[in-house]
């Protein structure tokens, strides 16, 4: 009897095991063959969305890097180009201009600032580069907006024994030339304006244009200077500016007289009239016309 019960128990257990095995096999088969269900589950897990986000992030990073690279090919605009090119020219001509020398403090910074304030020129930044040569007497080089860049020869001011007021008037005259763009108009290249403020990424930048500007600086400063028309324009501007200030106007007349005398008696400055024609003519333009009685 016992053996029969054990026999039935064993056969029952094995039968149940088989039945279980079959069910499990069927469940596995359902899972492994039904990929669509799995795919839907995965999709619902936002994995593809995440992958897209990562890819988008990579593209944005790449674009930012490219944008940064493109910006390095920018050309400065008119407001920043001129100060740079003037400084570059001055640096390249250090041996001719002789600006790297030890000199006393003439107190020009404070005096000229006050002088400009008196005339109503406010918030004008200036830098004066003193030169130890008579080759270049005085100039205003192009600079950024509301900034002035002056060259001033120490031997020139010493030989005429100019006062601070006379020096300031001389600088003011150069400042007027700058406001009239007289120097800039002589050195600007016809293609330069179209380049300033642009970008030359994947393009060839024609350096002949910029080197041409530097060459023209040489020509204006050392050879050609300004013409009579330009001198007349600036003299009339000065007359208008100083007309109400008798002391300043008299100092301007005296300055022109000193320069006229210097040009006539000093061989070192015989070519001054080539650059700034001519102090005598300027005096005649400033003097009132004689009335016929």
């Amino acid at each position: 009897m016992k053996f029969v019960i054990i026999f039935f128990l064993l056969t029952g257990a094995s039968f149940a095991k088989e039945r279980l095995g079959e069910g499990k096999k069927n469940t596995d088969a359902e899972i492994f063959t039904d990929f669509k269900a799995i795919k839907e589950v995965l999709e619902n897990d936002q994995l593809s969305n995440n992958a897209q986000k990562i890819e988008k992030g990579r593209v944005t990073q790449r674009d930012k890097k490219l944008d940064k690279e493109i910006k390095t090919y920018s050309i400065p605009g008119d407001d920043q180009f001129w100060n740079f090119i003037s400084e570059l020219w001055v640096v390249k001509n250090v041996s001719k201009l002789k600006w790297n020398f030890e000199k006393p403090d003439y107190g020009l910074d404070e005096y000229f600032a006050n002088f400009m304030q008196d005339l109503g020129y406010y918030e004008v930044k200036f830098k004066i580069l003193l030169l130890d040569t008579s080759l270049v007497t005085h100039f205003s080089l192009p600079s950024n907006n509301r900034e002035a860049f002056f060259l001033l020869s120490v031997p020139f001011i010493r030989v005429m024994d100019l006062t601070k007021l006379e020096i300031s008037i001389l600088l003011l005259e150069d400042y007027m030339r700058g406001k009239l763009d007289q120097f800039k108009n002589k050195v600007v290249h016809k293609d330069l304006k179209s380049l300033l403020g642009k970008n030359f990424y994947k393009k060839k930048l024609d350096m002949k244009i910029f080197n041409g500007v530097l060459d023209k600086y040489n020509k204006v400063v050392f050879e050609s200077g300004f013409n009579f028309e330009e001198q007349f324009a600036v003299t009339k501007q000065m007359q208008g500016m100083l007309h109400g200030k008798l002391k300043h106007f008299q100092a301007y007349m005296k300055l022109l007289g000193k320069m006229s005398s210097l040009v006539k008696r000093n061989l070192l400055y015989k070519d001054y009239n080539k650059i700034y024609p001519s102090p005598d003519l300027q005096l005649s333009w400033l003097k009132p016309a004689k009335k016929v009685p």
Partner: protein
């Protein structure tokens, strides 16, 4: 006590006072041996170069004035730069902003040296509104 020691280790600057860094603002410049525009150059600087303002033992800032010279440390060198040529924040530098354009001009080493000298030679000013 232990907490204070840990804090001191983590933030060493607090143990001596704040370290001040300044940035050079012109295109090029020089670190001078003494506070004079004509003093010898220890090192050439470029725009954006960071220098450390030297402090005295009491931890207060010394020789820093907008109208004078600042004693600074640049790398291993200690020297002087005009205070007006230094800024608290990193400036916008021409040769960085327009780097490819600037490089086209082939500025040589002696040009860099001269350009640095140029700023020491300028007589600079500005007319003000009263």
């Amino acid at each position: 006590m232990k907490k204070i020691l840990v804090l001191l280790l983590l933030f060493p600057s607090f143990s001596y006072g704040q370290v001040h860094y300044l940035y050079y603002k012109n295109i090029f410049g020089h670190l001078h041996q003494s506070p004079s525009s004509y003093a010898g150059s220890l090192k050439t600087l470029s725009c954006g170069d960071r220098v450390r303002l030297i402090q005295d033992k009491s931890g207060t800032i010394t020789e820093y004035s907008k109208f004078s010279w600042s004693k600074v440390k640049y790398g291993p060198n200690e020297g002087y730069i005009r205070s007006g040529f230094l800024e608290q924040k990193r400036p916008s530098c021409f040769q960085v902003k327009y780097s490819k354009f600037f490089n086209k001009f082939k500025v040589e080493l002696n040009d860099v040296f001269s350009w640095g000298r140029l700023y020491d030679q300028f007589v600079m000013g500005s007319s003000q509104v009263r």
